[in-house]
Amino acid sequence: MVFVTLIIGISAVLSWFLGRYMTYIMDSSEQGTWQSYLKQFAVFNVIMFAVSFAVLAFQQYLPLNPDGKGALTADLIFNTAASFTTNTNLQHYSGEVSMSYFSQLFALMWLQFVSAATGIAVLTAIARGLGGKGFGNFYKDMMRATFYILLPVSFVVAVLLIFTGVPMTFGGTVEAHTIEGALQNIARGPAAAFIAIKQLGSNGGGFFGPNSAHPFENPNFWSNAVETMSIIIIPMSCVWMFGRLTGKMRHAAVIFGVMLLLLVMKLSFAAYFESAPAGALAGLDVQTSSNLEGKELRFGTSAAPLWAVVTTSTSNGSVNNMHDSLNPLTGLVPLTGMWLNETFGGVGVGMINMLIYILTGVFICGMMVGRTPEYLGRKVETQEMKLVLLALLVHPLCILGGTALFTIMPWGAETVHNTGAHGFTEILYEFTSSSANNGSGFEGLGDNTPAWNIATGIVMLVSRYVPIVLPLMAAGSLAAKRISPDTSGTLHTDTVLFGAVILGSIIFIGALLFMPVAVLGPVSEYMAGALK
C-alpha cells in the first residue's frame, strides 16, 4: 500500500506544477471560432488516418524492416489506423510479430504524439471558450502540445527507461544459443522512445505483444514506477490546466478531488480482490499467495492492481499484467474505469468527458430547484443539453449494442478463449475498451478477424469523435451567451456540495447503465467459481 500511495501522491503533486507549465504553454489570446477550430481538427484527423493507413499498407516496401515483416490484411490495417488515430491503441496484432520498425515509428508512434496533442488542444479550446476568450487555432495548439509538452516529457522518460534496461536499437531479432543448447530468437527494437510516449499520451499501444508486462518494455521495479506515474500525470495536469484557463481554480480542485476519490475507491477494491489466490489452485498443495497468473514478479505485489486501475481510469490501456487472468471481481474494476472514463480520463479528453457529467449534474440540479441551470455563469439550455446527452449516450450504446450483437453471433461467440461468463466478459471488455478509447484487452479473445477489426474500428471512431465534437459545439453555444450575475439561487461550482452532485451524476448515470452486464459477466463468474 505504501507503493500505491507514493505513486499516486507523487503524481498528484507533480501534476500541479506540470498543469501550471501546460497553462503557460497553451494559453494564448488567439482569436478563432469553434467552427473554424472544428474544421481544422477534422481535416488534420483525416490526414492522420490516411497517412498511417498508407504507411501500414506499404510496410513491406518501406525501410527499417530488418526482420522482413510482410503485408498486413486490409481489415487489420483499418483497425490499427483507426485505433491509433483515435488515441485508443487497441492492438489486434502483436508488435514484434507483425510490425516493421518503420511502421512502429512513423505510423504508430507519430500518432501517439499527435493524437494525444489533439486531445490537449481541444480541451484548451473548450476551456478558452468557456473562459470568455476566442477558441484559437487548432494547429497552433496541437503543435504547442506536441513540441513543448509531450516531446520534452517523453524525452526525459525515455532516457530514464534506457537506464533501467529498455532497449533502443535498430538491430533486428538476435539469435541466442541458450545454456542448454537450444536456440532462442529474441526480438528487440527502438522500444524506449516508443514506450515513453505510449505511457504519457494515454496511448497504451505496446511495442511488444504483452505490452509493459514484457521484460524489455518494463525491465524492473523502477521502470514500472516511472511508467505507472507516466500514465496518470498528464491527465491529472489537464484538470489544473482547465482550472487556470477558465480562471476557476477552486472549481478545478473540486473536480480533481472527485476524480481522486473515485480512483482511490477503485484502487482499494482492486488491491483487495487481487490479493486472493487464483481460484483454480484452491485445494492444491501450493503455498498461498496473491493471484500470480499473468503477473510478473519483478514489479512487486501491489503493482499489478495499481497499474490495472490507473491504465483503465485514464484511457491509457497499456498493461503490466494480463487482465484476462485477473480475479473476476478485480476484472470488474478496469471495466468500471472504462465505463466511467473520466476519473482523470485520457489526455485532454478525460476532462472533456468530465464536462459532460458536470453539465448533466448542473442540469439535474437546476431542474430540482426549478430555475435555469448555469455553468460558469452561462445559462445551460435545451440546445446544449441535447448535445451533451447525445455525447453521453454514445458510449453505452456502442458497448451494450456491440456486446449484445457479438455474443449472439458466431463471429463473436466463437472467438472467445475462456468458457462461460468469462468468455462473455472478454467480448464485453473488448467493446468497452474500444468505446472508451482505452485499448487494453482480455487478450485471450481471438480478435484479429474481419468482424472484430471492422466493428471495433467503427466503435473507436464514433466514440472518439462524437464526445469531442459535441462538447466543443456545446461550449461554442455556451460561450456565445452573456455571463449572468451571481444571485443567491446560483449553484456554486466550487463547493463540496457541487462535488457531491457530480459524484452522484457519475455514479447514477455512468455506472448504473452497466450494472446488468457487470452481473452477467464478472459477478456471475465470481458466484460460480468462488462460492463452492
Binding site: 481544422q40 525515455a158 545454456i179 519483478r298 498493461v319
Partner: protein, 173 residues
C-alpha cells in the same frame, strides 16, 4: 478547402519530422551511454549470445534452476500470457502436472504462467525449493547452492534471476 488540406499536410510533415526523426534520433543517441542495456542486455559467452538477462529461457535439466511456466514456450519473438481465467480448469491441470513432477508445497509462482511468458525471475522461495534437486544433480552440498542463491537475490523483492543464477552455478563448478 485546398488551403486547409495543404495546412494539414504541412503540420503532419513537421510533426513527423520532429517526433519520428529528431526525437527517435536523440533517444537513440542517449542509448550509446548505456549501450549494453540499449541493445537488449545480452549476455555473451565465448563471443556468442547465450541470451538476455531480462528474458527467461527454458531450462529443463536437473542441474539447473527452472523458470516459471510460460504460455508461449519461452518464445522471445512472440511473447504472451496464458490469458486464462484464474478459475479455469486448464490452470488447475497445469498446476497438478507441475506438482506431480516437483512435489508438494510449491511456491505459487512455480505453477502460474507470467504475463509475458518471459519472466526472468523466480521467487526466492521457489529457488530455495529447487535447491535440493540442483544440489543432488550437481553432487554438491545444498548449502553451497543456497549461498549462490543468496548472492543473486534481490533483497527487497525476494526474487532471483534464473539465467544469472544458473550461469553463476556453472562458474562455481
Amino acid at each position: 478547402m485546398k488551403s486547409d488540406i495543404i495546412q494539414g499536410v504541412k503540420a503532419a510533415f513537421i510533426t513527423m519530422a520532429v517526433c519520428c526523426v529528431l526525437y527517435t534520433g536523440a533517444v537513440y543517441a542517449v542509448g550509446f551511454l548505456a549501450k549494453e542495456k540499449a541493445e537488449g542486455s545480452l549476455i555473451y559467452k565465448d563471443g556468442r549470445v547465450v541470451g538476455s538477462r531480462l528474458i527467461a529461457q527454458n531450462f529443463k535439466g536437473e542441474r539447473y534452476f527452472h523458470p516459471r511456466p510460460s504460455a508461449v514456450d519461452y518464445n522471445a519473438a512472440g511473447a504472451g500470457g496464458s490469458n486464462l481465467s484464474p478459475y479455469s480448469k486448464e490452470i488447475r491441470e497445469r498446476a497438478e502436472k507441475i506438482i506431480a513432477e516437483n512435489g508438494s508445497g510449491l511456491p505459487a509462482d512455480m505453477v502460474t504462467a507470467s504475463g509475458s511468458g518471459l519472466d526472468p525471475h523466480i521467487s526466492l522461495d521457489s529457488a530455495v525449493f529447487q535447491a535440493e534437486r540442483v544440489a543432488k544433480a550437481r553432487n554438491t552440498d545444498k548449502n553451497r547452492i543456497i549461498a549462490v542463491i543468496d548472492e543473486h537475490t534481490d533483497s527487497y523483492l525476494k526474487i532471483v534471476n534464473v539465467l544469472e543464477l544458473n550461469m553463476a552455478l556453472d562458474r562455481v563448478e
